[in-house]
Amino acid sequence: MMHLLYSIFVDPFVQMGAAPDLLVQTLWDGLVSGVLYALIALGFVLIFKASGVFNFAQGIMVVFAALTLVGLAEHGVPAYVALALTIVVMLVLAVGVERLILRPLVDQPEIILFMATFGLTYFLIGLGELIFGGDPKVMIAGQLGLPSGSYRITMAGGYVQLQKIDIAAAIIASLMVAGLGILFNRTRIGRALRAVADSHRAALSVGISLEQIWVIVWFAAGVVALATGIMWGARSDVSFALETIALKALPVLILGGFTSIPGAIVGGLLVSVRQKVGEFYWGSLVGGGIESWFAYVIALVFLLFRPQGLFGERIIERL
């Protein structure tokens, strides 16, 4: 019993103190994968904010965008042209989703729309495998001008390794968030988006085109998905296994709140850091592999105390 308590409450901290370089490395790993979680969560938040749809297909959109990019490049299209073409494909997808799914299903309960994005997920999995095959592919990171290699920083008797691609990912993510922030808060479209988010009927009655807004939002989510796919693909490779990252982003959303862009970022970083640290220092106690559910438990505990998330709007229910 004493031994167990010791290994829970004392030993991990002793380890942290003894090897600060390992701690920093773990924290850094957590932060960089947090950026990716945050990017996925960002795609979710965008669509949830503007159409009230919980878009389960965000994960497969990431895979689909990355596969399109790599697939085009494999057929000899220059990298930047392929990038532009992929963005066009995401636009087509957004228009298609609006025409074929959102428009006929307008004003249906949330759960029906949620299920529809499930149908979309299945459809995209099938389509992606049919066109590009099911094998993992290598992301064309080098041709897109993304750096490779790493910096090594010596500290406290050890060293910490920082991958250049991770730094690039962090920079791109922050640029994207800044861009979306400006789009949402400073432009006419952004105001329309927020109006639709509040109440799509009221927005419709003051002359905002729902169709247009939905296409814009889904297109923005598609571009975010593409960025996520490139970053994630550069770290490992592009395969359908990426599809499950959508589920990993859920606790991030819970922490950040479903409607908050900064929440998505902070939530992503928090969840990922705690996950990595938890796995590294406490994981061995229960046989490892706790990464798969640890984030959910954090989110669950958090939910009990602050159900609206860190930055989410508090919704007061009235009878």
């Binding site: 919980f54 074929l100 799914i101 006929p104 299903l105 249906q108 309960p109 949330e110 759960i111 029906i112 949620f114 299920m115 529809a116 499930f118 149908g119 979309l120 997920t121 299945y122 459809f123 995209l124 999995i125 099938g126 389509l127 495998e129 049919l130 099911g134 589920l247 859920l250 606790p251 959303l253 819970i254 479903f258 229960v286 046989g287 490892g288 592999g289 706790i290 798969s292 559910w293 959910y296 438990v297 989110a299 669950l300 939910l303 009990l304 159900p307 229910e317 009878l319």
Partner: protein
């Protein structure tokens, strides 16, 4: 003409509130049960029983369980696969601990373990709702999946980390294991599903079901008229998990024959949720229709091209199946968001007034 309640007078309150108040319904159900219990075992091939009817019945039961929670009480759950797994592993452990007890007893009893786990993971349901609750149940799903892999005690320290079902007898006939015939297993599954469905039908039209539906429709109002929210929600979690647990135990013992942790992963949960939504939220019939459609469709898609003499490589078929399934889900949601059960209701109304339009 054929389906009309005219002339069927009720002389007591009980007769009016009966489960099947109309004569035609009684005849219909009786014929259906007769076909299921007698006609099918005599005529159906091994393939039909093994890969179509047995899984459809088992998934119908799981969908019924989820429907009690999601359709009747309005609590979205994504942990169905995990709860089914609890049933399956509980049944397996009970069987190895007490090898001489009848296996059917354990299949039913394992539901109680699932119910207990369901209550624990249902605890957050008072404070959170909707998608947030769905995420909380996802936590259950991931935690349970992890347990099925990382707790070797659950699968008796088997090296392959899977559970294998030995042959068990019932009245001298093999019910489980490789020697059990598909007809025997079909009949056992059918009997359990029929009894539990009858139980569910009575549960939802009684006091329990009414409180569930009150909570679903508006929980604040339900609380004001004196329904205890917490008890109601937890009871719903318990009953739902009981059904899922029994379905999980049957899935392993009477259909798959052995179970790996992947049999109870998140995809299983989503599959069951699909069945409930496509079939119809808040309808027991819907659970059966949804399970039939979602399970039957891929089989149909796989076999239709061969009838026309087309030969397509199987990988292509799988991918197109995915695409068509996805498209069909969206199609059904657009055409009838209330599910197949609603279509059946509309059809019934049409039959009732036929040959007049209304």
């Amino acid at each position: 003409m054929l389906y009309r309640e005219v002339g069927q007078y009720k002389t007591s309150y009980a007769a009016d509130q009966a489960l099947l108040p109309i004569l035609q319904d009684k005849i219909g159900i009786a014929v259906l049960l007769l076909i299921a219990f007698v006609g099918v075992p005599l005529t159906a091939s091994d393939f039909t029983l093994n890969s179509v009817l047995i899984p459809i019945l088992i998934f119908s039961l799981a969908a019924t369980g989820l429907n009690l929670l999601t359709g009747y009480t309005g609590l979205l759950s994504l942990g169905t696969g995990g709860f089914m797994g609890v049933g399956a592993y509980a049944c397996y452990k009970l069987m190895t601990l007490f090898p001489h007890v009848n296996i059917i007893v354990f299949i039913l009893f394992s539901g109680f373990f699932a119910a207990a786990v369901g209550i624990v993971f249902g605890l957050p349901s008072l404070r959170i709702k909707g998608f947030y609750l769905a995420v909380a149940t996802l936590a259950a799903q991931f935690f349970l999946s992890w347990c099925f892999i990382r707790v070797p005690w659950l699968y008796n320290y088997n090296i392959s980390a899977s559970i294998e079902v030995p042959t068990k007898m019932l009245f001298g006939i093999a019910v489980t294991g490789p020697t059990a015939t598909s007809v025997t297993r079909y009949l056992v599954v059918l009997a359990i599903v029929a009894v539990l469905t009858l139980l569910a039908a009575n549960l939802v039209r009684g006091r329990t079901g009414r409180t569930w539906m009150a909570v679903r429709d508006m929980d604040l109002a339900a609380e004001l008229i004196g329904i205890r929210l917490y008890q109601t929600k937890l009871l719903s979690f318990a009953v739902s998990s009981f059904y899922c647990g029994v379905a999980g135990a049957m899935l392993v013992f009477l259909y798959l024959g052995n179970a790996e942790p992947s049999s109870f992963d998140i995809n299983q949960s989503f599959l069951i949720l699909f069945m409930v939504i496509i079939g119809g939220l808040g309808s027991l019939l819907g659970s059966f229709l949804g399970a039939t459609l979602i399970w039957g469709l891929p089989i149909l898609l796989r076999h239709v091209p061969t009838y026309f003499g087309l030969s397509i490589e199987s990988a292509k078929v799988d991918q197109s199946t995915f695409m068509i399934l996805g498209a069909l889900i969206i199609f059904f949601l657009i055409v009838e968001p209330h599910g197949l059960a609603r279509l059946w209701q509309i059809g019934k109304q049409k039959l009732r007034v036929w040959p007049f339009p209304y």
